[in-house]
């Protein structure tokens, strides 16, 4: 299934820019939304929980962010999930190579995969084309 809406959650504007570019140059999606931290995306999901057309298909989530980091978001998300009108796939997109982060991400049942930065064209194709 081709994703229609992708959310990028990262506190670095350069990441917003580069990941957006990378996705746009690889496949056509209807919309790419960017958020600066966990709290912003959580508020967005909470507000639009019932609205299928506005909810993303995919979230690319950074771990280390201010206010609400990736872990905190995942904790809150677990409570929100039953109320969401759409099934959302979450990928961790992080620069961390620490075993702790990778193991914990893989162990989280709402996380589909762990993608280390930098995101490559091949990875985008691999993830979204099948």
């Amino acid at each position: 299934m081709k994703p229609e809406i992708i959310c990028i959650v990262d506190d670095d504007p350069i990441v917003h820019f580069t990941v957006t570019k990378m996705i746009e140059s690889t496949l056509s999606v209807k919309k790419i939304l960017v958020f600066d931290d966990g709290e912003q995306i959580f508020d967005y999901l909470y507000k639009n929980a019932a609205n299928k057309d506005l909810l993303p298909d995919i979230i690319l989530l950074d771990l280390n962010m201010p206010y609400m980091d990736g872990w905190e978001f995942l904790e809150e998300y677990a409570y929100l999930k039953p109320q969401l009108a759409k099934k959302i796939t979450i990928y961790i997109l992080s620069s961390s190579v620490s075993d702790f982060d990778i193991m914990n991400a893989m162990a989280n049942r709402d996380v589909t995969d762990y993608i280390p930065k930098p995101l490559t064209k091949q990875k985008v194709e691999e993830l979204f084309h099948n």
């Binding site: 350069i14 580069t18 201010p66 206010y67 620490s98 982060d101 280390p116 930065k117 930098p118």
Partner: protein, 491 residues
């Protein structure tokens, strides 16, 4: 042995019971001392069996061990064993047994010489000897005995206890003076324990600081054991043990472990931060470059080039910050000096003058101490960071009030820095306040470096910083500059 020979043998031994009996144990001859020692006339014993007179608990021993040896032809002397007197009571007698052999070297008879060991002087000698031994052993181990006479409330000490207090043996302690040898803070605890032992029969075992007669402070273990009869304590005694060396070592170790684990935590955090924050811009750079390679239009290339410039600039900033935080974690380069806290505070307020005037902030000083031996750079950084945080995260509803209090607590220099600002949600962020790159206020930008750095400064100097905060009420930092001094330091 003939009667005559036996009498000759016994001539000078009026106090000793001498028995001549067959290998089977049947008495053949007994001297006159038997009347005074056992209550039996010699004639009453003759024909009876020696082994029947021993206490049932001792009988097995004498039959199995002693008799066997004797029959092997070996002379033996036995520890005191209980011998039943005519009136049914027992007397403790020591036994020297000599085997008597015939011309074929076969043991046919035994001759035993017994002495009543429970004579008064002997008991006394034995008691003294034991006490001396106990005292010596106790002193070697740094242990002393104490006892409290519950009628007069007068304590009795063994030599070891005197030694531990560095007192002459002629000194006579009473309960008050004895308790006053403990350090001030420990006295109530010790007195409470003694009271509980006397009135509730509760034993105690604790380690407390003691000040000796020579003014030396040492850690002692004091054990108290009440003897309770019918719900009432009838006797209270116990031990003193010098545990100064081990306690000091333990405290030192604890301090070291704490410092190490704090440094370890910082390293881990550092590693974490490297993983997140340093790899991140490098990942961005490499993504930008790969996008640049496939960019088709000049316009697109220009856009990517601008982004590359931005990425490289943020990396520069990051590296600068990194250098600062590395300095915060290692204290190798810094040296302590005498500082005047007021000067440090004035410097910080001077640097933040604009913000202080604009926010109409009030700074209160309640200084119990002003001088501190500490690295100047750290003090400046601590003051500047706390003050700028207090100003930055002030409440929108009230003018900021900052209060800096200094005092001595448990012999340590303490500073309390409090504000009436917007506060932090401790339940949500409590454990993350001092972490690197953690910011909690969306409206006020911060980098999350300041508190991480000052925590590093303080802990690397063996101190401690604790935060207390309530949302919309304010924040309070408790800093103990020289926490390490608290343990094992001279009082």
């Amino acid at each position: 042995m003939t009667r005559k020979e036996f009498d000759l043998f016994c001539k000078d031994a009026e106090k000793d019971l001498i028995c001549y009996y067959e290998a089977s144990g049947d008495y053949v001859l007994v001297n006159n001392a038997s009347l005074s020692i056992t209550g039996y006339e010699p004639a009453e014993l003759i024909g009876k069996n020696h082994y029947d007179f021993f206490h049932p608990e001792d009988r097995k021993y004498i039959q199995n061990a002693a008799r066997y040896l004797s029959l092997q032809g070996k002379t033996n002397n036995l520890k005191p064993l209980r011998y039943r007197k005519k009136d049914g009571t027992y007397v403790w007698l020591s036994w020297d047994t000599i085997p008597v052999k015939d011309e074929n070297e076969t043991v046919t008879n035994l001759l035993s010489i017994s002495r009543n060991v429970v004579s008064k002087t002997e008991i006394w000698d034995e008691k003294l000897r034991k006490e001396t031994v106990y005292d010596e052993v106790g002193r070697m181990a740094g242990i002393g005995y104490w006892e409290l006479d519950l009628k007069t409330m007068a304590p009795t000490w063994s030599k070891g206890t005197y030694d531990l207090h560095e007192l002459d043996y002629i000194y006579r302690p009473d309960l008050t003076t004895a308790i006053n040898f403990f350090a001030k803070d420990a006295r109530i605890t010790v007195l409470k324990a003694i009271n509980e032992a006397i009135y509730e029969g509760v034993p105690f075992d604790m380690t407390q600081p003691l000040i000796t007669a020579k003014g030396r402070k040492k850690w002692v273990r004091i054990i108290g054991k009440p003897v309770v009869e019918n719900g009432k304590t009838v006797q209270l005694f116990g031990l003193f043990q010098d545990v100064n060396k081990s306690t000091e070592e333990l405290n030192e170790l604890k301090g070291t472990v704490k410092l190490l684990s704090s440094q370890n935590n910082q390293l881990e955090e550092f590693n974490n931060m490297l993983s997140h924050n340093v790899r991140s811009p490098i990942a961005s750079l490499s993504m930008l470059l790969s996008l640049y390679e496939v960019a088709e239009t000049e316009e697109e290339k220009q856009e990517l080039f601008e982004a590359l410039k931005m990425a490289s600039q943020s990396m520069n900033e990051l590296l600068d910050e990194l250098m600062d935080s590395v300095k915060a974690v290692s204290n190798r380069e810094v040296e302590s000096e005498n500082n005047d806290l007021v000067t440090i505070i004035n410097q910080a307020t001077e640097l933040l003058k604009g913000e202080i005037i604009q926010s109409r902030a009030v700074i209160n000083l309640e200084l119990g101490w002003e001088k501190i031996y500490y690295p100047k750079m750290y003090l400046e950084s601590i003051m500047l960071n706390l003050m700028s945080n207090a100003l930055k995260y002030r409440s929108d509803e009230r003018d900021p009030v900052i209060t800096i209090t200094t005092k001595i607590e448990d012999g340590c220099k303490v500073m309390v820095f409090s504000d009436n600002g917007s506060g932090i949600d401790m339940e949500r962020y409590g454990d993350k306040v001092f972490k690197l790159y953690r910011v909690f206020h969306r409206s006020k930008p911060g980098k999350g470096l300041g508190l991480f750095m000052i925590k590093g400064h303080i802990e690397s100097m063996g101190g401690e910083i604790v935060i207390n905060s309530e949302l919309d009420k304010g924040t309070m930092f408790d800093i103990v500059f020289d926490k390490h001094k608290k343990m094992g330091a001279p009082l």
